[in-house]
Symmetry: C2
Subunit: 129 residues, 2 copies
Amino acid sequence: MLIGELATRAGTSPRTLRYYEQQGLVRAGRDANGYRQYDDAELRVVREIRSLLAAGFGIEDIRPFVACLRAGNQSGHVCPDSVLVLRRKLAEVDGFLGQLTDLRQQLRAQLDEAVALRESPCRTQICPP
Amino acid sequence: MLIGELATRAGTSPRTLRYYEQQGLVRAGRDANGYRQYDDAELRVVREIRSLLAAGFGIEDIRPFVACLRAGNQSGHVCPDSVLVLRRKLAEVDGFLGQLTDLRQQLRAQLDEAVALRESPCRTQICPP
DNA sequence: CTAGGCCTTGACACCGGCGTCAAGGCAAGG
DNA sequence: CCTTGCCTTGACGCCGGTGTCAAGGCCTAG
Ligand SMILES: [Zn+2]
Ligand SMILES: [Zn+2]
Ligand SMILES: [Zn+2]
Ligand SMILES: [Zn+2]
């Protein structure tokens, strides 16, 4: 399988696959041409990468998952390193959720206050256009 | 007030103040030196900018707030344009919150599944180190 | 006179995943 | 022979707010 076909099948671009290879995530053999030749198993790897990226993981975080897949596991999530990353990400998401919730609260308060001031008689505000 | 003093009083750096000026957010006069001279009112403006940036707004979003302050209002949030931006941001935060909540759910499920597989007898997995 | 401190403008770097263009090789069909 | 299409490597750009360095001007204290 050449790079274009793999890209199409994985729903991405050749540029992206070369980038993953440069990052050490995807492996490719070479034809006599110099063309990259991909094993069928790489499709699963690329799909896992894309899925994790879409979920907000970074390239470094994804390494253990790929290694876990390459070790022959059915899922990339079952290895200890992957679980560590999953836990870390979960904590990170929780922190971010709290932060966003606070922000939301703050925004609502400011909106309500602004609307209240706007509806009040126009003595305390300049009421620009 | 020179740029260094304003930076210190606003808890930021001269570089940052020059950037805000370049973006049209902060105004400064010039001494015969060529040194920027800041009105006392600019401190409030800079504080508003820093606060909004910390809340996740971008430079473009902040423009109406600064204009509202300059129009003489006590708060930068009361003008119609500011309220529009606040509403937009609130919606954006809500969307992001939903997205993050879904992701959290997904992460928990994957973690639970991985742990379950790991605790189950080691027949279905390769159980790498 | 000079050292030091604050000011000026301009430019490059960062992050991270990828788009995009350039310049060129290789294969197949007309 | 020429076109077409896929492949190769290499390089720059993006985003957005800021750090940081360079080269130089201004001012004050010793
Ligand atoms: Zn997965
Ligand atoms: Zn405010
Ligand atoms: Zn980068
Ligand atoms: Zn930029």
